[in-house]
């Protein structure tokens, strides 16, 4: 038997305040199918994250980051984007890759860093790059991608393209150098870019109240002349609608928007983190009740679009898919040793080719199964 959200969170835990007020009328502008698809989008992410964590806990991948609790942000934004819009993510928006149709196996190849990984095993897990869906390669350095989004937006503007850039930053990341630089530039250039502050209340162990003394992070936008709002980041439709408005502004040449999504990091910061060191169970449990998935499922039910049987079937199927699809990445083998020297430059320069050739000529004879073992 399969449990939906083993160990981490129960997506059915729902804020009672919300369940008490069911709204039988469909929200305007959405078809029933659309609403169900949005829900499925969130479930897909949750299932992927759970699989990631299992792979990591069982030592099959080295590291992972999950986005549990932040699915509404990812699905709400992705659903509003056009194909030509680019995503400049942090490590916690990988769910948007799934929304844009990349296969779970392709993502798992990255997690395994295997020979089929688009990035040839060069980056740590969760540092994806998928050019065909305009999901831009990210570093681990907090904040640096924000000005890339602005630059790309200026480029689109310059070329007359109808593309908008969306980019994400955590509550912690709002303190980074590049947050300041990116918003400064975007404001002055009226660049077609939407900034999302994903306020999940923690930067690893550091609570947002000690990150910034402002009453609300979205107030930062004021200092750059950028229209800014704060929304409930666990409210899928609020995210979707705020995004649509911001995209419309951007496409109309009215410049950037800053959207703070208030949410909560239900899981650990990463597989290396132990949140019990710095936040208590009560706080976490309370937050879990606001889980965007449980909440939206209740709404779907209240609209008559969904029931418990469908839900069970969905999660069962998702879990199986995840197992099957990620397993395909497991025995692929590592990238070729030569590949280590590619892509530093467009062409391997002579001095680097020399390093490669010497290394390959001599040391490639010695297998290196485990680091630190002397193979001779």
């Amino acid at each position: 038997m399969v449990t939906k959200t083993p160990k981490m969170t129960d997506p059915k835990m729902t804020d009672p305040k919300i369940t008490e007020k069911p709204n039988p009328a469909l929200p305007s502008g959405y078809s029933g199918q659309q609403l169900v698809d949005l829900y499925k989008g969130m479930a897909l992410i949750r299932a992927f994250d759970e699989r990631q964590l299992k792979l990591q806990r069982s030592g099959r991948i080295g590291f992972c980051v999950v986005s549990t609790g932040e699915e509404a942000v990812q699905v709400g934004v992705a659903a509003a984007l056009e194909k030509q819009d680019w995503i400049f993510p942090t490590y916690r928006q990988h769910g948007m890759i799934l929304q844009r149709g990349v296969s779970v196996t392709d993502m798992a190849n990255q997690l395994y860093g295997n020979a089929n990984d688009r990035c040839l095993g060069r980056q740590m897990p969760v540092h994806y790059s998928f050019k065909e869906i305009n999901y831009v390669s990210l570093s681990s350095v907090i904040g640096t991608h924000l000005s890339h989004a602005v630059g790309a937006a200026m480029a689109a503007q310059y070329k007359g393209d109808d593309a908008v850039m969306v980019t994400f930053i955590g509550d912690g990341g709002t303190s980074s150098n590049d947050f300041h630089a990116a918003l400064t530039f975007a404001g002055v250039q009226k660049a077609p870019v939407v900034f999302y502050i994903v306020n999940n209340h923690y930067a690893i162990s550091h609570p947002v109240e000690e990150q910034c003394a402002a009453e609300s992070l979205h107030l930062k936008g004021v200092g750059y002349g950028i229209p800014s709002i704060k929304i409930d980041g666990n409210d899928l439709l609020a995210v979707h609608q705020a995004t649509q408005e911001a995209l419309n502004r951007a496409r109309a040449g009215e410049g950037p928007t800053l959207i703070e999504c208030d949410t909560y990091r239900m899981g650990p910061h990463s597989s290396s983190d132990d949140p019990t060191r710095y936040r208590d169970a009560a706080e976490q449990e309370a937050a879990n009740k606001a889980c965007p998935i449980g909440r939206f499922e209740k709404q779907l039910e209240s609209w008559g679009l969904w029931d418990d049987t469908q839900d069970k079937a969905l999660w069962t199927e998702l879990e199986q898919t995840m197992v099957d699809d990620t397993n395909l990445s497991e025995n692929v083998g590592e990238p070729t040793w030569e590949s280590l020297f590619d892509d530093v430059y467009a062409e391997v320069p002579p001095a680097l080719a020399r390093q490669r050739d010497e290394f390959m000529a001599r040391e490639s004879q010695f297998p290196r199964e485990n680091e630190g073992e002397f193979p001779l």
Partner: protein, 326 residues
């Protein structure tokens, strides 16, 4: 005297110095309640309170800038950068301010900040959790650069750094944070900033290295002895700047063969400095080219990390080369 890890050596020094001197403050991302992502700051907030050991907003330039301001006002800040890879946002503060404050003010404003940062490969961290940027710091006059390779050195060098009057970049080899253990005196230990440590004496070839590469060198030396009958001297530089030139020159004069082992990219790496020093000051003693065993001129890879970071095999083959050189 107890057997401790290198990480405990670091923690010991912080506990010791904070107990001794209430001008010593420790801060950085997640160093307070969470006690650091590697737990190097264990017990500090519990013992000394939130005023003296605290977590900061996510801004490395702020962390170093604030530390500088504290030092100007007479405190002894010991900020932590979570990973050496994340010091780049603070590079301006380090190069433009920390390193140059004393000089530009004619000595009016010394800036004794000790910046701790874990560095190097070994935790499968890929491009951004593995770098070894020591060469950048060593090319920056005004900074001292210190890297321990043993628990006792970690304790003694960090304590000396904190007591000194100069800015120190204290880089901790995270690969061996827990794997290297050794005796650490319970009492105060002070190991001077400056002198290298001869980890093993030898007569045929000298390995110059530091940090996490020391155990690698030791293994290679052992294998070279075992398989080639070669007597290898291993010099643990410990203080990368200012460098203990005398020990280096003397060792080369004795062995006639030098290999420098570093993790960072080869070009303009720290190995280049040692090689250049030898080529300038001990050329006539050389019986073989000075070989640099180093990371490649590529970013630091994830899956193939095992190839990138010099291992005992690579060092061993270099030893073989230089002793066979005609």
């Amino acid at each position: 005297m107890a057997t401790k890890t290198l990480l405990q050596g670091v923690n010991d020094a912080l506990l010791q110095e904070m107990t001794r001197d209430d001008r010593v403050l420790v801060f950085g991302e997640d160093v307070g309640l969470n006690e650091g992502v590697f737990r190097a700051t264990s017990e500090l907030q519990k013992r000394f309170g939130k005023q003296r050991a605290f977590s900061t907003p996510l801004t490395e330039t702020g962390i170093i800038g604030v530390a500088i301001g504290m030092a100007l006002y007479g405190l002894k800040p010991v900020p932590e950068i979570q990973f050496a890879d994340f010091m780049y946002p603070a590079f301006d503060q380090i190069v433009s301010e920390l390193a140059k404050f004393r000089y530009r003010s004619g000595g009016e404003y010394p800036c004794p900040v000790v910046v701790r940062m874990p560095y190097g490969g070994g935790i499968r961290g890929g491009l951004y959790h593995s770098q070894s940027p020591e060469a950048y710091f060593c090319h920056t006059p005004g900074l001292k650069v210190v890297i321990p390779s043993t628990p006792a050195d970690a304790k003694g060098l960090l304590a000396s750094a904190i007591r000194g009057d100069d800015p120190v970049i204290f880089m901790e080899p995270k690969k061996i944070y827990r794997s290297v253990k050794g005796e650490v005196p319970d009492d105060e230990v002070l190991i001077p900033i400056g002198p290298a440590r001869i980890a093993q004496t030898g007569t045929d070839v000298t390995l110059f290295s530091f940090g996490a590469m020391i155990p690698v060198c030791m293994e290679a030396a052992e294998k070279a002895h075992e398989k080639l009958g070669v007597s290898v001297e291993v010099v643990d530089l410990r203080t990368l700047y200012p460098l203990d030139e005398a020990t280096i020159i003397e060792s080369v004069q004795k062995t006639g063969r030098a290999i420098v082992v570093t993790e960072s990219p080869k070009t303009c790496g720290y190995g280049s400095e040692i090689a250049a020093l030898i080529a300038e000051r001990a050329l006539d003693s050389l019986e073989a080219p000075v070989v640099r065993v180093a990371g490649f001129d590529t970013p630091f890879p994830y899956t193939l990390e095992k190839l990138y970071v010099p291992d005992a095999l690579r060092v061993f083959l270099a030893i073989q080369d230089v002793v066979n050189y005609q």
